[in-house]
Amino acid sequence: MKGNFVDNLGKIYGIYTGGFIGFVIFLAVLEQVGVPNRIIGYAFVFLTIAVYAAIGIMSRTAQVSEYYVAGRQVPAVYNGMATGSDWMSGASFVGLAGTFYTLGYDGLAFALGWTGGFVLVAVLLAPYLRKFGAYTIPDFLGARYGGNLARFIGIIVLFCCSFTYVTAQIYATGIIASRFLGMPFEIAVFVGLVGILVCSMLGGMRAVTWTQVAQYIILIIAYLVPVVILSAQVTGVPIPQLMYGQVLQEIAVLEQTKPGIMETVKPHFMPFTNYDPLNFFGLIFCLMLGTASLPHVLMRFFTTPSVREARRSVGWSLLFIFILYFTAPAYAAFAKYEVYNNVIGLAIADLPRWVSIWTEVGLVSVTDANGDGILQLAELRLGTDAIVLATPEIAGLPYVIAGLVAAGGLAAALSTADGLLLAIANALSHDIYYRMINPHADTKRRLVIARTLLMVVAVFAAWLASTKPSDILSMVAWAFSIAASGLFSALVLGVWWKRCTSAGAIAGMIAGFGVCMIYLIGTQYGGMEKWWGVNNISAGLFGIPVAFAVTIVVSLMTKAPSREMQEFIDAIRIPRGDAIMDKRDAALGH
């Protein structure tokens, strides 16, 4: 092939996508000729991990800017794909449709919250952070708020939100690997860990970027295929996103007329049956501002070649995320239709086979509460995570589709874990070691430190995941409130309000983060009363306003930032010119 890697991206990923489709068809043929399911599960898990590892090894690098920001040459569209898979975790892939299924309208708060935040990223932050040219988010805080205290608080917030998040991803990886490889969960966690490490350790951001693009392609194919088949089966048209309207109407009829359902059902469309309006809108608010504060997402926009590309890249990111998110409500509707229509009302003795399979896994349970031998809605408990994973079986599709879904879920969890681990390790190696401890460390030493810390953090997270901490998944939702309370005000005011002072930002970060943590820990473990009935996943509803108020008041009470700082902010606001960080480092002789 002529030209360098970046010029040939279209060709390379085109061949890759074709190869993957061919691989799926090949396995489908193998299944038809009688190859056992177990082999097909192994093929999906190991071959996809092997491909990610190969990309990771091919992209290995010894250059600092390649390691931290992929040499700033990732085109907008590809950065969009990478951000899409960086963003969509095991929770989005496996859990989102199930949440819609269980909560009906109220679950849509997650769809709104996890997409609308990108508008804030595009308008308020991404272009300015890109112009600044940081390697990490604490780097920006340190430069804008003059010194290591702001940087250090940034690192603490980053660590709190990213570490719980990465533990949940490794946990999800372990669940998928153990189910499809049939090995004990504790060992499966470490198999997943190897997959994560080979991608991120050798090549840093560069390897993670190109792996995430590959993972996006697999996860989106895996998400769309089963629901497209389902749509074709039920409605005759393979466009689920459009056709599920009809299905929603049929669900509404079943909800009102079918015995066994109509007695206990919460109607699918009916708003505010699970969350009251305050919690519904509060959750949207926290998820959106959290999206715009999570370091592993923001740092993806450091990798584009220009400020203009950074802006467009946010649009591409959201488009690629949108493709999955606007399919999820259809997924939920088709699954609900199948269950209401074909499962409720059956004799409990002859339920379909998938019910018993998923009961063994622990995601489904059936109890004949009234002892009449007939299944009522209230007697069937479908776990949130079962909807996407079990839909292929609910619809009676071949096993190869179930394997494909597993590969997609694995891709989603691995790609997010890669991004998160990198964010943590970079903060430790770049911000703590290089900026705060040893500013004269040479390139080689910095990269050795970065890789070592990556290993340590990863192994620690895997160990924690292997102990199956019970509420780790609810802690993921907390990460958004923590990030938003601790970082959002300091980042946004740092760009948009010149009068914002170091003392103000530092006080605001501490106050916001503090209030959020007190509310989270107090209501979860300390038996504290909820304030105005706000659920603790929306703790940011208190932390964010406090952070803004404290930042503004303290800023106005302290001396305005220096002239140099004002000029620094002016430079960030204009796209033209070199990245500011690079200029500074050059002046300092680094």
Binding site: A111, L112, V119, Q246, P277, F280, M288, V314, Y325, F326
Partner: protein, 87 residues
């Protein structure tokens, strides 16, 4: 590269800020505003979809995607007008 005068820089930033507020208002409408009226909107049914439900499930999401691309285009035009875009 010609230096940008302080006045031009101020004008550029005031246009940029104006665009930011427009986008923020639209963002607020699609994030919160219309969903307050979900019960009323649900009485309108298009192609099987109650409108209130549809806006939260797909409509607002699509609006966010369009909004970001529109913003990126507008901001580029502003940058070019003031000669501060990248080459």
């Amino acid at each position: 590269m010609t230096e940008l005068s302080a006045e031009q820089a101020r004008a550029h930033w005031s246009r940029t800020r104006g665009l930011m507020w427009i986008v923020m208002v639209l963002w607020f409408i699609f994030s919160f505003g219309i969903h307050i009226f979900v019960t009323t909107l649900n009485e309108i049914v298009i192609f099987g979809f109650p409108l209130g439900f549809y806006m939260a499930a797909q409509g607002s999401l699509l609006a966010f995607v369009v909004l970001i691309f529109w913003y990126a285009g507008r901001q580029n035009a502003i940058d070019e007008e003031y000669g501060v875009s990248e080459d």
